[in-house]
Amino acid sequence: MTTGFNNPLGTGHLAMAFVCPQEYITRFNPDEGLCQGTIFPELVSPYPTYQLLLRTAAKEAQKE
């Protein structure tokens, strides 16, 4: 059977959700992992985005 954990369920499986499984390649060291909120770099999802943070910081620096 080709359906299952590592493969998309394919066109035969309508009305079913599927989440891409994570593949463990590397992890942060414990200190960095704790700061990030996960040890897996591919699961890091910052809010707001880093670009927005940079723009905001630049704007505030201009005001001073």
Binding site: A17, F18, V19, T38, P46
Partner: protein, 190 residues
């Protein structure tokens, strides 16, 4: 059964008393998409999960949510503990203070008391896992709104951390859904 680990999962600091912020943050303690709801939802659903793996995931994430509930409690506690009455009144927390002083209580940002109506344990594992994935997204969104509201960078740092955990939990519930769907469809072949 559960044991208690005498530490926070992530360290919490606040810059100073801030009842106005506490009033909003408390929603992740006793509100509809908060950590108590998450924890009880997963811990009660786990009894009827169909595989050891799905039971393990629900048990472990449900347990971690209790640790997050404690972190939110530490935030609210820190933001209220040294707050003068004048600030509590200015924040519109008079009613809460009258009923609870500066104690922690399970309410939403608008003071609605927690209810089991916030959670579902439907029995059908596919249904329950979708409920859980939705819950993680709702929690993530709530943390984003709280980050938008926060004027304390120490608090914002903790909110960001809690938000990241929701994303990881969503991933694990998604993987569990894949596994349970495969397990159930394999069992239909007789």
């Amino acid at each position: 059964m559960w044991i208690y680990d005498k530490k926070l999962q992530f360290p919490v600091r606040v810059s100073g008393p801030n009842p106005r912020l506490a009033k909003s943050v408390i929603t992740q303690y006793g509100g509809p998409d908060g950590e108590l709801a998450a924890s009880l939802r997963y811990l009660t659903q786990r009894y009827t999960m169909p595989t050891g793996r799905s039971i393990a995931t629900l048990t472990d994430i449900g347990t971690e949510e209790l640790a997050h509930m404690e972190i939110v409690a530490a935030l609210v506690y820190g933001l209220l503990v040294d707050a003068p009455i004048s600030e509590i009144k200015a924040a519109g927390l008079d009613g809460y203070y009258a009923d609870h002083d500066k104690a922690l209580y399970f309410v939403s940002a608008e003071g609605v008391p927690w209810t089991a109506a916030y959670i579902q344990s439907k029995g059908d594992p596919i249904t329950d896992l979708h409920e859980n994935m939705a819950a993680e997204q709702k929690a993530r969104s709530t943390y984003e709104y709280l980050i938008n509201l926060s004027d304390d960078p120490e608090v914002t740092n903790v909110l960001r951390w809690l938000r990241e955990r929701e994303i990881v939990h969503f991933q694990r519930f998604g993987e569990t859904l894949n596994h349970v769907q495969e397990y159930l469809s394999a069992r239909k072949v007789f």
